[in-house]
């Protein structure tokens, strides 16, 4: 009994008719790092939300330091030392780092902020001044501030919901070291949710696995389980496909010539002389640490960013000066890396979000047919096995994986000739990743030309016919998949090319 700092027993929670959690048990040991694995929609975030008092369970009890908690709300959970980093950022963008860190009323570094900030920015290898506003920070830096926020409000139990999903491999590695330090020196109890087995293996000591709202494995010792064990627990079945690359390429569908994009404010070249060509039936991978111009490249090809020099041709048609719509009419699809906020509009229904790409094709003059759009959504839901409560539900009630499936499905269902897919599987579970990979390959075989931007090297090697490595706005090295090896690609990503 004594050994657990937190114990949750028989927790159940339903949303409408979705059983998000069913008799779930969860135990945390003081000063240890615990992994929580599970497919998209397994109930991981729901469980964390219950422990941090945001959701109320219908059933079950929670003990903290062996004291039964009658009812937790965000305030009392925080007083008991439970803090959570959500899947999406919850920082106040227009405030400074210092303000964000000291905002909580349980802030313990009121008087010695400077020293505390210095100490922890060293632990997190963060090198920005606390006066900087959040909106100026990179995604990785924001994530560090989110975690640091928990330290400043004295959370002893830190629940981290997919913190590495937005991080580059290097940043993830840094985070591993930082969390290790926190658990050893400050005796922080940590929960890490991740879809990447490698991270669970490297970060954690104990691992829990969830599937369909149930806890299917409790407190396994990480070093004693194999990857195959974990995948089997999560999925029930393992399917790892070897992708056939003997497909033949057709005509050139997308070509990019001497593309240059300058940040006018800082007079800094974000993209420098990019030349690319993609043929029908080909997947071209763009490797690189995030922040080396990939987002800008995707935005320029899709027509969102217009202030650039160079040429873009779709099907040999010069579209350099054309907008988003005429590029879509030439059958280009774009799956942006920022799912909620760019690809999908928050606060708007699932139905509206499902027709964002094709509504101007199916419209009848000014009329938007309700039955046609409902049918369209239904075909997406069936074809891409999306789980959604109902068509009027707000989009953010879907789980991360289901949102991505909706977005992917919407962009792929009309058989596009050119596809730009940016981080298509970020934050998804193994099954969903597999499904999305299959979709991309299926599209490739139908003759689509695909540009895939990814930080996941396994994914790039698995799917691409060619890999280009971007570093500081340039394509520094290109590999045919047969001649590529992970080491050389990794070196090129760090800017080392001999």
């Amino acid at each position: 009994m004594k050994q657990y700092i937190l114990e949750a027993k028989n927790i159940s929670k339903t949303f409408g008719n979705v059983k998000a959690l069913e008799n779930v048990n969860f135990y945390l040991r003081k000063g240890k790092i615990h992994g929580l694995l599970g497919e998209n929609g397994a109930g991981k975030s729901s469980l964390m939300n219950i422990l941090s008092g945001i959701y109320q369970p219908e059933k079950g009890s929670i003990f903290i330091n062996n004291v039964k908690q009658k009812s937790l709300d965000p305030e009392s959970a925080s007083e008991l030392g439970i803090g959570m980093v959500h899947q999406e950022f919850r920082l106040i963008e227009s405030f400074s780092i210092e303000d964000n860190l000291t905002l909580s009323k349980s802030n313990i570094y009121q008087n010695n902020f400077k020293e505390a900030y210095e100490k922890y920015s060293e632990i997190f290898s963060l090198s920005v001044k606390p006066e900087k506003t959040i909106s100026q920070l990179s995604v990785g830096e924001k994530q560090k501030i989110e975690i640091m926020k928990l330290i400043f409000k004295d959370s002893k139990i830190m629940l981290l919901d997919e913190p590495t999903a937005v991080l580059t491999p290097q940043e993830t590695d840094q985070l591993r070291i930082s969390l290790g330090t926190l658990s050893e020196e400050d005796e922080k109890t940590i929960v890490l949710i991740s879809h990447k087995l490698k991270e669970i293996r490297e970060f954690t000591e104990k691992v829990f696995v969830m599937k369909n709202g149930k806890m299917v494995a409790e407190e396994l010792s990480t070093k004693d389980v194999t990857d195959d064990n974990l995948i089997e627990l999560m999925m029930g079945n393992i399917q790892k496909s070897i992708i056939d690359k003997s497909n033949t390429a057709g005509d050139t569908k997308l070509s990019i010539k001497s593309l240059e994009y300058v940040d006018k404010v800082n007079n800094f070249k974000i993209l420098d002389n990019i030349n690319l060509e993609i043929k029908a039936g080909e997947i071209i991978g763009i490797a690189g640490v995030s922040g080396n111009g990939q987002v800008e490249l995707a935005n320029i090809i899709s027509g969102i960013e217009v202030d650039y020099s160079g040429k873009i041709l779709i099907n040999n048609k010069d579209v350099s000066r054309r907008g988003v719509r005429s590029r879509k009419k030439l059958n280009l699809s774009y799956i942006p890396e920022n799912r909620l906020g760019v690809g999908l509009a928050p606060g708007v229904s699932v139905l509206d979000n499902s027709i964002v790409r094709d509504y101007f094709k199916t419209r009848l003059g000014p009329h938007l047919s309700r039955s046609k759009t409902e049918n369209y959504l239904e075909s997406l839901i069936n074809k891409f096995s999306i789980k959604a409560p109902n068509s009027k539900a707000e989009i953010s009630t879907l789980s991360g994986g289901n949102m991505q499936k909706l977005l992917m499905g919407r962009e792929l269902i009309s058989n596009p000739e050119v596809i730009i897919a940016s981080q298509p599987t970020r934050g998804l579970d193994v099954n969903a990743v597999e499904a999305i990979h299959n979709l991309l390959v299926e599209q490739r075989d139908k003759g689509s030309a695909i540009l895939m931007i990814s930080e996941d090297l396994d994914e790039l090697f698995k799917l691409s016919n060619r890999i280009h490595v971007m570093f500081e706005g340039k394509i520094v090295k290109s590999f045919n998949i047969d001649d590529a090896d992970i080491n050389n690609v990794g070196l090129a990503m760090a800017g080392i090319v001999e």
Partner: protein, 352 residues
């Protein structure tokens, strides 16, 4: 010890807006009754009199519906603008500028066919309302200036312009000391359909359907929702979010301007400060209570029209007409409070 704490509900009943309104209205009647009791008046007598004199006969019913026209039209305009998540506090000014535009065109044109003349004047009213919101619309989409403040400010400016016109260039010498413009000729009065019910009510029904269609069934409505949801998604989808916001504002302003035109052509027949009795502000209440739904605005607007007719007639038995205003405002308060309970949940928390 027991404590009460708030929790956000995960699911909100779809009909919650309707229930909130209903309960809010009951609360408002209750508050009204207390005020009447304090004044030693019988609530039952007063309310049954109000009911009889606002909907009891063809004449009273048509008076009520006539009053509802500006509330409904301005409310619809507000709801269209809210599709892009913007607020129009300037319906009052738009109503006045609509009426001013009607008078301006009336004075400066010569049209022989009365029906074409009326049509032109109604269009002028719509355009006048759009013009009134033009500057807030431009400052919003070009500089990002908060539209709540700018639309509110235009009310004061337009009211000033109205006072200037009816005391200066447009002052009717025949009206002696009362500041008002000259009456328009009878040939442009809006006809009545049944009893005193103005033809404007048919226009109102038509525009309710139009607004419902625009918001819920049209491509433009969809584009407005996406633009209101996320500006980045709009850019990504090739939707010009600023253009949608601009157009929505002009259309919404036009709806209120049309209300001013109908008010002039069917009720006051001249420009005076009496063109609107705060319709543009009450319309905000109407739109907010219904959660910006056009069909709801039509129903609640009609009810509020009846309430204010009822309010003005009970003055004859010595009860202040403000009782109607109190009920309207309390309905919104009541509805907002009830909506709060549909969104949140209060739970007892035991502390040991």
């Amino acid at each position: 010890m027991n404590n009460l704490k708030l929790f956000k509900r995960q699911t909100v009943n779809e009909l919650s807006t309707f229930y909130s309104f209903l309960i809010g209205f009951i609360i408002a009647i209750f508050i009204g009754s207390i005020i009447l009791l304090i004044q030693d008046k019988s609530p039952i007598d007063t309310f049954s009199l109000m009911l009889r004199l606002s909907v009891g006969s063809i004449n009273s019913l048509s008076a009520s519906l006539n009053k509802a026209i500006p509330l409904i039209l301005a409310g619809l305009g507000i709801s269209i603008i809210n599709s892009v998540k913007l607020w129009n506090i300037g319906a009052e000014g738009q109503i006045f500028l609509g009426a001013i535009a009607v008078n301006f065109i009336y004075i400066n044109t010569q049209i022989n066919s009365p029906s074409i003349h009326i049509f032109v004047l109604l269009v002028a009213g719509f355009v006048g309302g759009s013009l009134c919101i033009l500057i807030p619309a431009i400052t919003k989409v070009v500089f990002g200036v908060n539209e709540i403040i700018t639309t509110l400010l235009t009310n004061y400016i337009v009211f000033g312009v109205t006072i200037f016109l009816i005391n200066g260039p447009w002052k009717d010498p025949k009206s002696l000391n009362f500041p008002a413009a000259a009456y328009v000729g009878e040939e442009v009065f809006l006809p009545t359909i049944i009893g005193k019910l103005s033809f404007g009510f048919l226009i109102c029904i038509l525009f309710t359907i139009l607004a419902h269609y625009l918001k819920n069934k049209s491509v433009f409505g969809f584009e407005m929702r996406i633009a209101g949801g996320s500006a980045m998604t709009a850019v990504y989808a090739g939707i010009n979010a600023k253009q949608k916001a601009f157009i929505a504002m002009l259309i919404g302003g036009g709806f209120a301007g049309l209300a001013g035109a109908i008010e002039l052509l069917s009720q006051t027949h001249r420009v005076s400060t009496g063109i609107s009795q705060g319709f543009g502000y009450t319309a905000i209440i109407v739109a907010a209570i219904t959660g910006m739904r056009p069909l709801g605005i039509f129903l609640v607007g009609s009810l509020f029209g009846a309430l204010s007719i009822g309010g003005s007639v009970i003055q004859t038995i010595g009860v202040s007409a403000y009782i109607a205003d109190i009920i309207q405002a309390s309905t919104l308060f009541g509805a907002l409070i009830i909506q709060f309970f549909f969104t949140y949940q209060i739970k007892k928390v035991e502390n040991d």
